[in-house]
């Protein structure tokens, strides 16, 4: 234990690519076998009252909560802000998104972003994980979607994010 962490920073940074690629392999495999899809889960429930995929998404939220809680007891330094909404004055403080704006701004971006992510995901047949998996299954449309996602990421960080921060700061959010 160094500074309360299981692995010191120098080693941890070296493990980032290895750990995440293993995580990706596991999730990719499970995603392909189960057809896991977050947006698909909500869609199937609304359309057919089918809960197979929705259970997966709910299990994700519950499992994240349970294991963050367990690990916060074992390595408190690594899970520093677990349920910090319960701390005074932190009720609606987000734990880190890309554009650095105030609380109200983050909530507005969350709502706008969430609605459009939901619409696009529903119309084009799946959440981003599903699109990655379908790409690996040989779906060319999903491949184009993923390429579009990568282009969108560069456009957002290079052009839109600074603009959003400026605009929100200007109107005081």
């Amino acid at each position: 234990m160094v500074d309360g962490f299981l692995i010191p920073k120098e080693t941890a940074v070296l493990l980032v690519p290895i750990a995440t690629i293993i995580l990706g392999l596991v999730i990719g495999w499970l995603g392909q076998r189960s057809g896991f899809c977050s947006i698909g889960g909500i869609r199937d429930y609304m359309l057919f009252r089918q809960t197979r995929l929705l259970k997966g998404y709910i299990a994700l939220i519950i499992s994240a909560f349970v294991f963050y809680f367990i690990f916060s007891l074992i390595v408190p330094a690594a899970i520093p802000k677990f349920f910090w909404c319960l701390q005074e004055g932190q009720l609606f403080t987000a734990i880190g998104g890309a554009p650095a704006v105030g609380t109200v701004g983050v909530i507005i971006l969350m709502i706008i972003g969430g609605i459009f992510v939901g619409i696009i995901g529903t119309l084009l047949g799946g959440c981003p994980l599903r699109q990655l998996v379908m790409t690996s299954e040989g779906n060319m449309k999903s491949l184009i979607f993923v390429v579009g996602m990568l282009a969108g990421a560069v456009i957002f960080t290079a052009l839109l994010s600074p603009w959003i921060v400026q605009a929100f700061t200007a109107i005081g959010l």
Binding site: F5, A12, L53, Y68, F145
Partner: protein, 177 residues
């Protein structure tokens, strides 16, 4: 003997096909990665995110090709600064899913027409822009809610509303045809 192995594989596969297990594994793995590697830098609840991890990867590639200085999350930025690579989750997902698809003979090339490619390309760009507005794809959204980030609850409600609108639009279009 050969049938034994394939029987066994089939037995495991029936469990792997349950989305509930997939969700539980993603939640566990994301928490484990944070517990092990948080020293590498934040943000919190960053164990798995298709949108943010794609952004880190593509921004890293763009930065190294063009010498630009696009944003990476500290988790990836510190790894790059130490001379290694940023998060490779996306590559892992693509390879893992391809492996499963080939092994179970579910790999089939499906082509679309030019119009559908244009729709999916623009859809992908817009999807990523709005996901990064949220600072989360639906997966990190779930992780953030599990982490106790109440702001992410607004995102989930908005996502549900979005899916509802999406279904309505799809139904309108089907009626039109």
């Amino acid at each position: 003997m050969v049938t034994d192995i394939s029987e066994k594989r089939k037995g495991v596969d029936t469990y792997l096909k349950i989305p509930l297990l997939g969700g539980a594994v993603i939640g566990f793995a994301a928490a484990l990665i944070q517990a092990l590697l948080f020293a590498a830098g934040g943000p919190q609840a960053y164990g798995f995110c298709v949108a943010c991890h794609s952004r880190d990867l593509i921004n890293y590639v763009t930065n190294s090709l063009t010498g630009s200085n696009l944003f990476l999350a500290p988790f990836s930025a510190n790894a790059v600064a130490a001379g290694t690579l940023p998060v490779l989750t996306i590559i892992g997902v693509l390879v893992g899913a391809a492996g499963a698809a080939v092994l179970y003979k579910e790999f089939r090339v499906k082509k679309g027409d030019a119009k559908s490619y244009a729709v999916y390309g623009i859809g992908g760009i817009l999807f990523m822009i709005f996901a990064l507005c949220m600072g989360a794809c639906p997966y990190r959204l779930a992780l953030r809610i599990g982490y106790g980030d109440l702001v992410a609850v607004f995102g989930l409600i908005a996502l549900i509303v979005g899916v509802f609108i999406g279904i309505k639009i799809a139904m309108k279009r089907m009626e039109g045809k």
